[in-house]
Amino acid sequence: MTQETTDPGSRGFLADGGKYPGLLGWIFSTDHKRIGLLYLYAVLSFFLVGVALGLIIRLELIAPGETIMSAQAYNALFTVHGVIMIFLFIIPGIPAIFGNIFLPIHIGANDVSFPRLNLFSWWLYMIAALIILASLFTGGGPPDTGWTFYVPFSAETTTNVPMAVFGVFILGFSSILTGINFVTTVHRLRAPGVNWGRLPLFIWSLYATAWVQILATPMLAITLVLLLAERLLGAGLFDPASGGDPIMFQHLFWIYSHPAVYIMILPGMGIVTEIIPVFARKPVFGYWAIAFSSIGIAAAGSLVWGHHMFVSGMSDMAVLVFSLLTFIVAIPSAIKVFNWVATLYKGSISLDPPMLFALSFIFLFCIGGLTGLILGSAATDVHVHDTAFVVGHFHYVMFGGTGFAFFGGLHYWLPKICGRMYNKRIATIAWGIMFAGFNILYFSMMILGLRGMPRRYYDYLPEYTDLNLVSTVGSWILAAGLLLMFVNLLRGARSGPPAGANPWGGLTLEWTLSSPPQAENFVNIPVVEHGPYDYDKVSPP
């Protein structure tokens, strides 16, 4: 079934710009792989900006008092850090990069259903990103509301909130278009033999994610429109002075933004589910349980938004309902964890860098998820809500979870995308440093939160000094690891040894293609005769 029509040294789609030459052949390409790479470059650039801001935040917090910046600067900083990380990095991240590149390949298609729409959504992403960046330097200065944009503060602060909000609004459309494209592609373009039971679980997770993108993102759009109306027209829909209710803003905001956290994690879980069977040489344990738990998380996860509002003044009845629903969502996540671990059983495990990231994902996600239970329980959330504990929780799930899955995906697929292998030893060392730094950084924050340190504080009481220092040191260790990782990947992509078509011995369809794949993925649409994890039946090509 191998389709290596190009010779091994060829640069495949990387050299094939279609109608246009050079750079134009990239930014006007409708090839899903090229669009995926465009996203990769863009998303990684913003990630580095966000990461640098995170580092500066930690520097300010190294000691009590005003250390390196004013309160206003700090407020702008965590707002911009949050907005970039959430809307520009982690939400588009895995679907738009790896999803774009591998979704069509995984189902044996030559492109997504709407290639031009796909390109358009990248353009929307870039325009929105530029608008958000422009909001930092124009108007009344960078927005200072936090990424949650709560009214009434966001309706009255003099900083450049409207522009940032408008940028996020456009990003929403970019995300919606990706979702529409993926759902349609999965329904319509599966190659012969790729029935629902042979869909790689990464695709299942993207499919579930896409539905959340389609059904939840419009809520964000309308919320932001309402916020703009509040600011620019004085609509007063959230202003108590004219009969509005500020808590309704929080409902509308979280109706999107909680499902959004599952937009962030589901594709990450998908990547981990791809990596583990490959490196354990075993069929994934409980295929259907994992597939349906993705759908379950997406469905149940859309109904728990109120857990961000336990102390907001919402009714106690709503606290009861949302707390219960929150705990229900934990169950499909637990199922996934158990299935991953069970897949290892009696396997033949090799600890290559992607696998290390996948296994550490499980550990970090468990910590993040289990602290989520503390937050989901009404009584305990009252204490830790809006403290550093929440900050710890979400960095564990977002950076430790999705972030590590993303890095795992990079290590797993970069050889396929670029055709070259990075240095595995250095990758392993970088992983070790990051893992250590990460835990030092955020575990300290969780303890700080339990001891009562509120979040979004640029200054704190002296009793919180010690752990803040530890945490800041952790951020440096993490930074060192991250730097090492990126340098290593970059060097590998440029000048590493050829990786070959199937360096890891995977069974999904991308490994039947040359590395890098040619512009037109499959010369003949393949007929698939086995499942994506049938290591017990067929041996990898």
């Binding site: 094939d16 710009g17 279609g18 109608k19 409708t30 090839d31 030559n110 492109d111 259903s113 709407f114 290639p115 031009r116 729409l117 919606i176 979702g179 529409i180 494209n181 759902v183 349609t184 329904h187 319509r188 373009l189 389609i214 059904l215 939840a216 993102t217 419009p218 809520m219 759009a221 309308i222 919320t223 429109v225 309402l226 109306a229 027209l233 004085g234 609509a235 007063g236 829909l237 004219s242 009969g243 509005g244 209710d245 309704m248 409902h251 509308l252 109706i255 040619q518 512009a519 037109e520």
Partner: protein
């Protein structure tokens, strides 16, 4: 396949329509957000909402309902017409649909200008004097109908474009999915109005 390798975009009729329907769901939820707010505030200010709704011009609202329903009919007929090979009729029907959009907007313009001339618009001093619930009602009214009006405008432009495409033959008996999808969009605009009309104009 072309020499440079990219496959020609496949003609997947069902896929194109599925994509359009998915897009329509996002539109439904977009308006859905406003209906969430409407429901909540109606529950909180039932009295004020009816007083405020009483000030809207029900006749203009009803007229606009008829206009949109008729527009929808014309566009639905256009799809059948093009498929029966009657492109001329289809074009006429589509222009008819576009005209219904324009009529709707003209109506809306008249309605809003009277209301604004009475000092009723978001954040107006007149509203600040009234009950809080009324100001919330009118805030929602302007946002919802404004957003809907925007959709009518876009829909009208789309219908005109599609009419031109049919005249040029880009849309024909065998290639009509663009027309059908545009029609779907236009029907959605109608659907939203079907809910707006009783909720805003007919509260008693």
């Amino acid at each position: 396949m072309s020499d440079k390798g990219h496959p020609a975009p496949h003609k997947d009729y069902t896929g194109a329509k599925l994509g359009m329907w998915l897009f329509l769901y996002t539109e439904v939820l977009l308006f859905g957000g406003l209906f969430v707010l409407y429901a909540v505030y109606l529950h909180r200010y039932p009295q004020e909402f009816t007083t405020a709704a009483g000030q809207l011009n029900m006749y203009l609202g009803a007229a606009n309902t008829v206009v949109l329903l008729t527009g929808s009919l014309l566009v639905a007929l256009a799809v059948s017409a093009i498929r029966l090979g009657n492109s001329r009729l289809a074009q006429q029907l589509l222009w008819g649909g576009a005209v219904s959009g324009v009529l709707f907007l003209v109506n809306k313009y008249i309605e809003w200008s009277t209301e604004i001339s009475h000092g009723i618009y978001p954040g107006s001093p007149v509203l600040a004097q009234r009950d809080q619930g009324e100001s919330v009602f009118f805030g929602l009214y302007y946002l919802t109908l404004g957003l809907h009006g925007l959709h009518v405008l876009i829909g009208t432009i789309i219908l005109a474009t599609v009419a031109v495409m049919s005249a040029k033959g880009t849309i024909n008996q065998n290639e009509f999915v663009v027309l059908e999808n545009s029609g779907l969009y236009w029907h959605l605009v109608d659907l939203v109005w079907i809910f707006i009309f009783p909720l805003y104009y007919l509260l008693l």
